[in-house]
Each structure stands twice: as structure tokens, then as C-alpha cells.
């Protein structure tokens, strides 16, 4: 009986390892030679574009600048308390973004460094949320311009 349980445990363990490995290797959905039949995007990744000056990096810089502008410690504390109460303050905005990241299971944030107003980030998640769930989370944040999956495209060569 004990041996049976051991075998079962090993089997479950092996199956788990296999499924985990398969999930990692097949991060991209295979589109076939021409694609188009499936929604194709990189697993556990999505792209978020923030409105100009309202991305996490810019907001952090802005908050630091604002605090530094306060001349003494009392003013700094007063400023922080005031901002904490103000729903449109940079600190509040940053906090809502960071909360969204946490809810979406974001484990890596990368500035794509694209030219133009507003920063675009490539976010990598822990895979606990679907793309629809992530989109729903970010759509609620007013600082976000848009959120979309990290779509996959393929070469246009039908014959090899």
C-alpha cells in the first residue's frame, strides 16, 4: 500500500514536471505556416502604454522632486500627509499603478524605450491571471493609455 502511494506520488511529480516544462518551452502558440487561425501572443507578457508623464518611472521622479522642493522636514511630512489624502496626487497615482501590477501578478517591468510621448512597458507576469483579467485590471487605471498582449507575428513565406 505504502509502495503504491510512493509510485503514485512519483507519477504525479513526473507529470507535474512535464507539464511545467511543456508550459515553459511552448511559450509561443504555434501558428502553422500561415497563422491567422488562432489568437497568438507571447504567454505571460503584455504591453502597457501610459499617458505622458503618468508612467511609474515618471511619477516616482516627480514625487522625489516634489519632496525635495520642501525646504524643511516639517514641510516634507506635511506634503506627504497632504498627498496621501489627495486622490489625484502623484503618490496616489503611483500607488494605484503598483497595486494593479500586484493584482496582475507582474514580476518584471521593462521600459521598451520607444520614441514619443508616454512610456511603453513590457510586463512579464507570473501567469496566474489571463490576458482578459489583466486587461480588465489595467483598463480601470486612468493613467493607462492602452494595454495589449505581446502579439506574435510570423515570416510570410509559405514554402520552405
Amino acid at each position: 500500500m505504502a509502495r503504491k502511494s510512493l509510485y503514485l506520488s512519483i507519477l504525479i511529480l513526473l507529470l507535474s514536471v512535464f507539464l511545467f516544462t511543456y508550459h515553459q518551452v511552448h511559450a509561443y502558440i504555434d501558428m502553422g505556416s500561415t497563422g491567422y487561425t488562432k489568437e497568438s501572443y507571447a504567454k505571460n507578457q503584455f504591453i502597457v502604454k501610459f499617458k505622458p508623464g503618468l508612467d511609474p518611472k515618471s511619477l516616482k521622479s516627480k514625487i522625489a522632486r516634489e519632496i525635495n522642493n520642501q525646504t524643511d522636514l516639517i514641510s516634507k511630512i506635511r506634503f506627504i500627509v497632504k498627498n496621501f489624502r489627495n486622490p489625484s496626487s502623484s503618490e496616489k497615482q503611483l500607488r494605484s499603478i503598483l497595486n494593479a501590477q500586484k493584482s496582475a501578478g507582474v514580476i518584471k517591468v521593462e521600459d521598451m524605450g520607444l520614441t514619443g510621448p508616454g512610456k511603453t512597458y513590457l510586463m512579464t507576469t507570473d501567469g496566474t491571471k489571463t490576458h482578459d483579467q489583466i486587461k480588465s485590471i489595467y483598463d480601470k487605471i486612468p493613467q493607462v493609455d492602452y494595454v495589449e498582449p505581446n502579439y506574435i507575428y510570423t515570416i510570410q513565406q509559405p514554402t520552405l
Partner: protein, 504 residues
């Protein structure tokens, strides 16, 4: 008796020849490329020694000339002037001298150049007269496999290369699977290499990017391999796909476009596609196009009705390219739709491959770099042309195929490199600068045969009976003599007649 028969036949044929109607104007010869044969309203004339109107005028006005000679010179001058006036020549007294003793006349166009030349030729004082012919060289690169590159000839590149072979200062970005930069037909052509996403630069495990790069700008006229659309161009190898399937993620593509835009690319080729439009890609494309970069992409390989769902080709500010076959048919795989802008050869295209060899493959992936390559040629002529103008020129100069007018398969039609370049340089109907003055004057205007500067000489030219490399009336004179002597055949005469008056 035999001689009489031959003479009768010759006289009969001569009579037929005289009766052949000739066009009174023939500035344009109907060739496949529709090139003008000679400069409108210009005639080149060589007079016999001392018989040029200007010489006669000088003689008549010279104090050292006897009165009798003065009178004779003046009379001859007046006759020449009258003749010229009747032919509409407006600069008898002020002609441009082409070379010593050869003048260039301008006419008012009331008499056709051909008729004027024929009339002048009959004048005793004239040694020869001829139109100011245009000469065109058809550049044929010596690359070993150029003869298999039907695509290059189909889009009229040999003629286009007369205008420009490209410029190494024009950068063409290839967002693809990488480029084998040490391929013998690509060495020295890659000016920048960068990897995006998980891709490291300088490799191509797929071959696709190497093929695309070769079409745009393989080393040309190097006796090796294939020719590129551009003989000179700087290729930016932006590797955004490095898996075995040839897939790209949005993140890598947008970063590559951004990089190309900020690092001097004038044209970006994207032989890739996917079913989803993206805000991130649309935004960066709009910025690139606004900054003067032309973006070209494949229309897709999913066949009829799918081009409008293939991005980035479906974006309105991207030139979406469909694929054509050697017979100017739409390739079976080519995606069609309202977003297809133009088409280009994409079936069985020979180009460089990632193992150092060459391979013939198909796809709208292969059509797109033909267009990107021609765009690079356009920029070589005029680097400041706007992307919207580039697109408009490509569309307006394309050869209309399929349903007349724009259609969803071919778009505006199959691109024509020469026609596009002609429009860029602002000389849509003006041919290249002619070589003024034929160094070997023909004794009779050879109106109907477009002269070829590199034409084969000797007796290999049909109708060239006297083997001087030109089919002209001198052949007829020799034929006549030989026919009477019984050493020529009527067949030879017929050959000459057919060539000499082809199309009349």
C-alpha cells in the same frame, strides 16, 4: 536573259519598297518600354565640305572671294536656307556645332523629324542627315545567376539601373530573422546589426532574413551569385526573430522599428505579418512615417480576402505588397484585400541563403523586399521625398494587372522600377541624357530600328548585308549590286527589307 529576270525582280521589289507607306511622324517607337527613339524637333546634319549654309554665307561675305564665287555662294546659301525654312528649321544661321562640320538644327515641329531628315538627305550639299537619336544602355550585371532572376527583369531594373544603382548612404532596415553578413554576396553591405528581444545580432538560423537582404542589396556585378535591386545600399540587419518558426513578438518589432527610425533608415522592410493590429505598432509606425521613413510589408500568405487582417501590411501608412508570378499572375498564396497597395514578384525568387549558397523560395515575404529595394533606389535619387509621395509614385507607375484599375489582388499593379525612378527625378516622360552625335554616322536614317550602342556587329545582325553592324540603305546598295552579279539571293533582300521597315 537571267540578268534581265533578276533586274526585273529587283525593279519590282524597289517599286514595292517605294510604295510602302511611312509614318510622317515617329518620335516614339512602340517598344515594350515605350522609349522615345529620338529627340523631338532636332536634326543632325553634316554638309559636304564648303557646302554648309554658314560656310556659304561666310564665303559670300568674304572680301577675298571673287564676285562670281560670291554670287554662286550666295545663291547656294539662299537655296539651303529656303530648304531649311520649308522644313521648319529655325536656326540655319545659328546652329549648335556637335563636332567639327556637324551641326544640330532645331525645328519648329511643323514637319516631322523623319520627313525633314529624308528631304535633307536628298539634298546634294548634304553628306548625311539624321535625327538626334537617343541611346539607352540596358545594364546587365555579370552576376553568375542573374539570368535566373526573372524578377529583376520583370520590374524593369536593367533600365532603371541607368538612372541609379542606389547609394550606400541610403539605409534599408530589414526587420527579420537576421542576415548572414559573411555571405560572399553580402559582405560589406551590412552597415548595422542589432538584436531585439531574445535575439542576438549577427546570425540567421532561418535563412529568411538573408534571402530578403539579398533581394534588396546583394553585391551586384561581382561575377558571383545574384544581383540585388540596389547595387549600393546600406543594409541594417535588425534581428527580431530567432526561433525555428520565424516568429516575432510585438515587443521586438516595435523596438526594431524605433531603432531603425532613430538610426537613419530611409526604408524599413517587414516581410512578416500577423492577424492582430496593435496600438503599439501603429503608434511607432506613424512616428516613423512622419519622420520620413517609408515602411513596406508583406500583404500576407493566407490567400484571397485576408490582407486586411494582416498587420503591419494592413496599416494605411504601410505599403502592403502582394506577390506575382513570372507570368504576371497573382501568386496563389498572396493575400488579397482593400489594403493591398502594389504587387511585386514573389514566386520562385532566387536570392542569398544562410548557408552561404542561394535558394529560390516564394512568399509575399519575397515580394516586399523588391518594393523596399525600389524605394531605396528612389531615395538614392531624391533623399528628401516624402513616404506618401513614394507610395503615390509606386502606385501611379505600377503596371496595371488583373481587373483594370486598382483591384484587391494586385493593388495598383505590379511595380515598375524605371517608371518609378523617372517620376522621382521629375522626368516622367523625359528619357536619359542622350549621347548627342552618332560617332559612326549612318548614310541613311535608320528610323525604325532603335540603335543599340553595344549592338552586335558583323553579319550576326539580321538584314545587315554589308556586315557593318547597321541595317541601312548601304545594305540595299550592296544587295542590288550582288543581285545583278548573281551572288546574292532574293531571300537576303527580303531579310533586309523586313528589318529595315519593320512595323511600317
Amino acid at each position: 536573259m537571267k540578268n534581265t529576270l533578276i533586274i526585273s525582280i529587283v525593279l519590282l521589289l524597289t517599286a514595292q519598297l517605294i510604295c510602302i507607306p511611312r509614318p510622317s511622324y515617329a518620335v516614339y517607337e512602340e517598344t515594350t518600354e515605350f522609349k522615345p527613339v529620338f529627340v523631338p524637333n532636332e536634326i543632325i546634319v553634316k554638309y559636304k565640305p564648303g557646302m554648309a549654309p554658314l560656310d556659304l554665307k561666310t564665303q559670300a561675305e568674304s572680301l577675298s572671294t571673287s564676285n562670281t564665287n560670291k554670287s554662286s555662294a550666295l545663291e547656294s546659301y539662299n537655296q539651303a536656307k529656303l530648304l531649311n525654312q520649308s522644313l521648319g528649321i529655325v536656326n540655319t544661321d545659328t546652329p549648335a556645332e556637335v563636332v567639327d562640320g556637324v551641326v544640330l538644327y532645331q525645328t519648329n515641329g511643323q514637319v516631322g523629324v523623319e520627313d525633314a531628315v529624308n528631304r535633307l538627305y536628298l539634298d546634294d550639299s548634304v553628306e548625311y542627315a539624321e535625327p538626334n537619336y537617343y541611346y539607352y544602355s540596358l545594364v546587365t550585371p555579370n552576376d553568375q545567376q542573374f539570368s535566373q532572376q526573372w524578377d529583376m527583369k520583370k520590374i524593369n531594373l536593367p533600365s532603371a539601373w541607368d538612372k541609379t544603382k542606389g547609394s550606400s548612404s541610403i539605409k534599408a532596415a530589414v526587420i527579420d530573422t537576421g542576415v548572414m553578413s559573411n555571405h560572399s554576396d553580402l559582405t560589406g553591405k551590412i552597415v548595422d546589426q542589432k538584436g531585439f528581444g531574445l535575439c542576438s545580432p549577427g546570425a540567421d538560423i532561418k535563412g529568411h532574413g538573408t534571402h530578403v537582404a539579398g533581394t534588396i542589396g546583394a553585391k551586384t556585378n561581382n561575377t558571383t551569385g545574384v544581383a540585388g535591386v540596389n547595387w549600393d545600399v546600406g543594409i541594417m540587419d535588425l534581428r527580431a526573430s530567432c526561433d525555428s518558426r520565424g516568429s516575432f513578438d510585438l515587443n521586438s518589432i516595435t523596438r526594431a522599428i524605433d531603432y531603425a527610425m532613430n538610426n537613419g533608415a530611409k526604408v524599413i522592410n517587414m516581410s512578416l505579418g500577423g492577424p492582430r493590429g496593435s496600438r503599439a505598432m501603429a503608434d511607432i509606425i506613424t512616428q516613423a512615417v512622419s519622420s520620413g521613413v517609408t515602411i513596406v510589408a508583406a500583404s500576407g500568405n493566407a490567400g484571397p480576402g485576408t490582407a486586411d487582417n494582416n498587420f503591419p501590411g494592413a496599416y494605411p501608412n504601410v505599403i502592403s505588397v502582394g506577390s506575382t508570378t513570372i507570368n504576371d499572375q497573382i501568386s496563389s498564396f498572396s493575400s488579397t484585400g482593400s489594403t493591398v497597395d502594389v504587387s511585386a514578384p514573389g514566386s520562385n525568387i532566387l536570392s542569398t541563403w544562410n548557408n552561404g549558397s542561394y535558394r529560390s523560395i516564394s512568399g509575399t515575404s519575397m515580394a516586399s523586399p523588391h518594393v523596399a529595394g525600389v524605394v531605396a533606389l528612389m531615395y538614392a535619387l531624391n533623399p528628401s521625398i516624402r513616404p506618401s509621395e513614394v507610395k503615390s509614385i509606386l502606385e501611379s507607375t505600377a503596371v496595371d494587372l488583373g481587373t483594370p484599375g486598382r483591384d484587391n489582388a494586385f493593388g495598383a499593379g505590379r511595380i515598375d522600377a524605371l517608371a518609378a525612378l523617372n517620376k522621382v527625378s521629375g522626368s516622367g516622360s523625359t528619357p536619359p541624357t542622350p549621347i548627342v552625335g552618332n560617332p559612326t554616322p549612318t548614310p541613311y536614317p535608320n528610323i525604325t530600328n532603335n540603335p543599340q550602342p553595344t549592338g552586335t556587329g558583323g553579319c550576326t545582325v539580321l538584314g545587315d548585308y554589308d556586315c557593318n553592324g547597321v541595317v541601312d540603305k548601304a545594305d540595299y546598295t550592296k544587295l542590288l549590286t550582288d543581285l545583278i552579279a548573281g551572288t546574292a539571293t532574293i531571300k537576303k533582300f527580303e531579310e533586309w527589307r523586313r528589318v529595315m521597315y519593320a512595323g511600317q
